[in-house]
């Protein structure tokens, strides 16, 4: 009888109905308070960085499951954080700043390591008070390919970066970048930075994390006429940088020095005449295996590079042809500030709108699967494993 009552409570009264006869249903069992275990990692998990701009000392990263449409948990992120995942996806790193009295008092810059299986902070590394306080990109903080080094961008406004040993929890060195900014890791020991001259500066490290050599590339863009967004989009072996006017600069970082593909344009003559441009906070995402680029596009002139996309355009990275355009408004969605795509064979496209909604699309068809309303305050960057 007891087991039947248990089954009744757990499954359905129907199965035990004959036994219960005229008796009232059993009361619900007492519950015990538990701690939720995260489901196994999934390619459809996404890490949404909510800058919480109106309460900026309280930024956070919210984990969301693109299949169940459930929040999975939260990683606190302080003020104006950098964020990235370790190459194996098991660790989240947040570079951030705290003050002893909220927004005042003694300043502590720190990198916090979170175990992505239970969302507990495992350890931290205190930084010199030089961390670049700016919008989140892929390049505020990042691991070397073998996870032996962790690089953190500094701007005081003099530009440099920190080399950290994430396993030992130590700062190994600070390397001056002569005005070039951000950290673009490649291989086990190279860090590139973006320079105002349109060049990439690459610093190669020795085994102790100190500078072994540095080199400057040729210019690949012109900051006066058509600057690139600093939000590079991962491609196989490197990153694609989109420009304000819609050029795509694919950069291969797999060799000792970066190499540049011939840039191509997102825009036809007709598109240009209509003033279409990429824009937003996280402007593009690429499914590497499928070779598909998703870009938030809007119509506008000079100064609209942060305007969100009224449409998401899809390009074939091989043919450079646009293969789809998915307007937001017909789906009753606000414009897209940030886009990200899962890397699996049934890919999901995530779009964070200027209303802070997260829209989930089938990335193959553009079918809208779900809208998670008001996902925090200002979701400006989405990362996935």
């Amino acid at each position: 009888m007891k087991s039947c009552l248990m089954r009744a409570a757990l499954l359905s009264l129907a199965t035990c109905a004959p036994l219960l006869a005229a008796a009232p249903p059993p009361p619900l069992p007492a519950e015990h308070l538990t701690l939720t275990t995260l489901p196994p990692n999934s390619p459809h998990r996404i890490y949404v960085l909510d800058e919480a701009f109106l309460n900026e000392i309280d930024a956070r990263i919210d984990l969301f499951d693109g299949d169940t449409y459930r929040r999975l948990g939260q990683i606190d992120a302080g003020f104006n954080p950098g964020f990235n995942l370790s190459p194996d996806g098991k660790t989240s790193v947040v570079s951030t700043t705290y003050w002893a009295r909220g927004a005042r008092g003694a300043r502590t810059d720190v990198v916090e390591f979170t175990d992505n299986t239970n969302l507990s902070v495992t350890h931290e590394i205190v930084l010199p008070p030089k961390r670049a306080m700016t919008l989140p990109t892929y390049f505020n903080i990042g691991y070397s390919s073998d996870s032996h080094f962790l690089y953190v961008s500094y701007v005081t406004p003099a530009a440099s970066f920190g080399v950290l040993d994430p396993a030992k929890g130590t700062v190994l060195d600070e390397i001056d970048t002569a005005g070039c900014v951000l950290v673009i890791p490649s291989g086990p020991n190279r860090v590139a930075s973006l320079c105002e001259s349109g060049r990439l500066q690459t610093v190669t490290l020795d085994a102790q994390g100190h500078e072994a050599s540095r080199a400057m590339s040729d210019p690949f863009f012109d900051a006066d006429t058509d600057p690139v967004f600093v939000q590079g989009v991962p491609i196989t072996g490197g990153y694609a940088f989109l420009s304000f006017l819609g050029q795509v600069h694919e950069v291969d970082f797999s060799g000792a020095q970066p190499t540049f593909q011939k840039p191509w344009s997102l825009l036809s003559a007709a598109d240009k005449a209509q003033n279409w441009r990429p824009g937003g906070a996280q402007v593009g995402a690429i499914h590497r295996k499928l070779g598909k680029l998703f870009v938030a596009m809007h119509r506008g002139g000079e100064g609209t590079h942060k305007a969100p996309g009224t449409e998401i355009w899809v390009f074939d990275m091989k043919t450079h042809q646009r293969v789809a355009r998915w307007p937001m408004a017909p789906q009753k969605l606000a414009s897209a500030l940030a886009v990200q795509v899962s890397q699996d064979d049934a890919p999901l496209l995530f779009a964070a709108t200027e209303n802070a909604d997260i829209a989930v699309f089938d990335a193959l068809t553009g079918e809208l699967r779900h809208v998670e309303k008001k996902f925090g305050q200002t979701p400006w960057l989405m990362m996935n494993p």
Binding site: L13, L28, A30, L33, T34, R60, G73, Q74, S120, H370
Partner: protein, 187 residues
Amino acid sequence: MRSIDRLFENSSRSLARHTSRRSLLATLGKILTGAALIPLLPVDRSSRAEAAEAGGPATAKPPGKSGSKAKAATDDPLSCDYWKYCAVDGFLCSCCGGTSNSCPPGTAASPITWIGTCHNPADSRDYIVSYNDCCGKASCGNCECNRNEREKPMYRPSRNNDLNWCMANADSNYHCSVSVILGVAEK
């Protein structure tokens, strides 16, 4: 019901209330062995089915903002109208990575709590519910819920949901609130 209220209230000033509640559970004799391992959702489905069979209450209110499916709100743990949340003033942990009785990953449950008595329309019983806060991460900010059935001001702390019940935790910041069935309320 009043006598149970009193039992809690008389023990409310002490950090040992936690223990008192556990004792009460034994007294009530409503513990099903193994309940600790039962996840909430199957129970919810059971009672939902029950309510549907009985032509029970199917409030037409929309589900919580995270809930995309049309459900009877009193039976939807993602909705503030869920029956067990009758004295929650805060964020529902079920919308924050937890469930209605489970804290989200990386947080810690408060050992001290406030208590409510909620009516479950699915079986027409009143249940004693312990509300615990989950602590140590910043405000979840999702599924804000403000219900105050039988809630009292802070001079009766065991019935008060304005206090931050994470107060005695090592990391005493409030993240979200859970609702844990302790047993059926005496009539």
